[in-house]
Symmetry: C2
Subunit: 154 residues, 2 copies
DNA sequence: TTTACTGCAAAATGTTTGCATAAGG
DNA sequence: CCTTATGCAAACATTTTGCAGTAAA
């Protein structure tokens, strides 16, 4: 199963000032083979180990971090582990700042209406929707200033 | 600082078949006092410890889990720790199933357009948006069947 | 009085680090 | 060669577990 061309991948690594090592190639390949699974480092490791028994889990961790830093791959938000809590019962969205790692509450009635309509139109027949939330990722322009959006709250 | 009325809180606990213990009361209060901070278990613990030195961190962990199970509070998605990765460069949304903990890719051009327009209208002057993602929480109706939505992909 | 909850400490899990060796350019 | 990356093992951080004792109803 070859979803990425190895020489393309080498070029992408070099373009990011990374050495095109065997480990990086197979980590990236494992990741693309597992697409849709949003694997953890451990799962990537399990995937590539049979064909590459000499690679260590530590290298997989380091490689994934490197790839995220260079923008080659992305971290997916998840609610398992790294647990943060919110007592606010009101449905509300969150804005994530990739730089400061802040999670900022964002409530907007129009956004709620827009999304409710959208998901009613798409009939999610096999999925019972209990709530929704929009995650914005990005960077605060001036780290020292508070983000100013209409109706930021909570 | 009293953001929640204690007797209301007792009622809410009882309504969920939970004993209204002192620990549960102060965990909930700490959580509401920290609203907007999306604290971890450790942060909740640090908050309530000065006034309640006998409470253990383990109890805070257990209490927060219990509250989530009964729907009193929510877990907030985060990208720090519990790390999952995605090599897909295309912006796409994710659906999170509260039951199975699955993260399902969801791509929909209309949804993208809707949200892009919305955030252009709100001018997020101090925030540079890199991407957005809609988190739907809920349950798959038939756990063994694939969710069928128009244009689920990847 | 009965049952559910807490505190403690140990165990399990997950992730990072430091450093000597190996491989890439 | 020179630099950067890897493998290993230890350290660290976080979360869960088991159980005896305690508090709620």
């Amino acid at each position: 199963m070859q979803l990425v061309n190895r020489s393309d991948l080498r070029e992408r690594l070099v373009a990011s000032n990374l050495k095109a090592t065997h480990q990086r190639i197979v980590v990236f390949e494992a990741l693309t083979e597992l697409h849709g699974h949003h694997p953890t480092a451990e799962e990537v490791y399990q995937r590539l180990k049979p064909a590459n028994p000499s690679i260590s889990l530590g290298t997989v961790y380091k490689t994934l971090d490197t790839f995220v830093d260079t923008g080659l791959i992305f971290r997916v938000l998840s609610e398992e582990s790294g647990k943060r809590y919110d007592a606010n019962a009101m449905a509300h969205s969150h804005i994530y700042c990739s730089n400061t790692k802040e999670i900022i509450d964002f409530e907007d009635a129009e956004l709620d209406r827009l999304l409710t309509e959208f998901f009613q139109k798409r009939n999610m027949s096999n999925f019972e929707i209990k709530g929704f939330s929009v995650q914005l990722t990005g960077n605060k322009v001036e780290p020292d200033k508070k983000i100013s959006v209409s109706r930021v709250s909570k």
